[in-house]
Amino acid sequence: MATDVSNELERTDNLGPIVEAIDPRRLLLGLLGLAGFVGLWWFGSTLQPAYILPSPLAVAVTVQSEIASGTMQTALLDSVVHWLPGTVVGTTLGVAAGVALGWSRVLDEALTPVVRVLRPVPPLALIGFAIAWFGIGHAGAAFIIAIGAFWINFYAAYGGVEGVSDDLLDVARSLGVERQIGLVRAVVLPASLPEIMTGIRTGIGRCWMLVVAAEIFGAPGIGRQIFRSANSLQVDRVIAYILVLSVMFLLVDTAFRLLQRRVLSWR
């Protein structure tokens, strides 16, 4: 017995290091790819007038002046003011609805026609409602973003719950879980957490894209800055604010991926 377990422990120890080291080869190749992209951009910009494609350097200068004037920070803060509540509310409702319909057959059968009708509506088509219900401003933009987050999370959670093994539910019942809500809490939610978290992560990214679209009707923020700059052919400003979106997406996505890896370390 003792020897048996220690043998098995050795086998276990060989499963690989828990901490994933940064692969230097991958890092190098990534930096090379990025350098190549910027190089190509720079080369292309020498062949075109600045209002078609400004050089990376010109964009860097613009970023600097936008930060110096505080315009960029204000725009970013404005966008965050509708991005954050929109994402949080849409994600929460989407996960809740996905779990509910994924778990309850009655709800699923009753609401599937409603889902089929509403699902194909693009969030931007609801701008009229956003303005009518929430006005031109943060609340309206948050509404658009929430719709986008809702569906991604709805389907991720729904799929996750559908995939929960019946055997695990049987085991939980045989161990004394009697009520439906108990099964949801003790088995369904933790078992579908990987899918739910993938949905949240996808939703967060999509919501940054929706930030631009949601500001089309006048809410202040990064998207607003992009539209205004485009109208006056200030392409360097367009690119500068697109870069803000990229950086924000990268930061939030990386942070969430770290959280995901930590929460799902049991996998």
Binding site: A2, T12, D170, S174, A186
Partner: protein
């Protein structure tokens, strides 16, 4: 919990199971009857397709028979619950819970205080030889260790009956022999009533006080055999071989 002559006695009464197949009804079980005495170790053996897994699920309360009933302490089993400890071949551990979290799952449902629960989980881990693995996750365990966790988890709520469906079917031969011996030790230490399903005749003879031999088309009980051998039993023993051959003849 009932105390008396019927305590922990399992009665399988005329259990029949008919499924609606695409080519008409399929008879999975026909009038299966047998008893398991309190504290007894009974094995059920039969070829694939003899309905033993269906029978297992019915006794576990996971499926309702078309006819007949299964009683525990005289009361019909009408669903899974903490009076029945279930161990599956595929372990079915909760992968998001640690070993201790898995073993303690059933105790949490009873509302047992945390320190008491921790103590009981510690005892159970010791019983199955997994002290020191309390904080490991299932993904880091071998098959044999996972099945020990599943066994400890099933024993935790102190069930009246331990039901096992081919529990050692997914581990290598060496681990299987070891787990069989451990299970017998645990059975003797706890005095649990055990019902153990297997397709392996050797395993059935090695473990059971009695062997329920099943046959197929339709799934039914061929005979119930008393194994009158001292434990530990060895395959090389001549009497063991006679039991083995007899069962093989019945279902071969």
């Amino acid at each position: 919990m009932a105390v008396g002559a019927d305590a922990n006695r399992v009665t399988v009464e005329d259990v029949s199971m008919v499924y609606d197949g695409s080519n008409g009804p399929v008879e999975a079980l026909r009038a299966v009857s047998f008893d398991v005495e309190p504290g007894e170790f009974v094995t059920i053996v039969g070829p694939s397709g003899c309905g033993k897994t269906t029978l297992f699920r019915i006794i576990a309360g996971l499926q309702t028979p078309t006819e007949g009933a299964v009683r525990l302490d005289g009361d019909p089993i009408d669903g899974p619950g903490p009076e029945l400890g279930i161990v599956f071949q595929e372990y079915h551990l909760f992968p998001w819970r640690t070993v201790a979290g898995n073993v303690g799952f059933g105790l949490e449902q009873t509302g047992m205080p945390t320190d008491q629960r921790r103590e009981r989980v510690g005892e159970l881990l010791e019983l199955v030889g997994l002290e020191g693995f309390a904080d490991s996750y299932p993904k880091d365990l071998s098959g044999g260790m996972k099945q020990r966790v599943a066994l400890a988890r099933a024993l935790a709520p102190d069930p009246d009956l331990l039901l096992m469906d081919e529990p050692f079917g997914a581990v290598d031969a060496q681990t299987r022999t070891m787990l069989q011996a451990e299970l017998l030790d645990i059975w003797e230490a706890t005095g649990k009533t055990v019902l153990f399903v297997t397709h392996d005749i050797e395993e059935a003879v090695k473990l059971g006080d009695r062997v329920v031999v099943m046959d197929r088309e339709p799934g039914r009980v061929q005979e119930v055999l008393d194994i009158d051998l001292e434990r530990p039993r060895s395959r090389s023993d001549r009497a063991f071989g006679r039991y083995y051959e007899e069962i093989l003849d019945r279902i071969g």
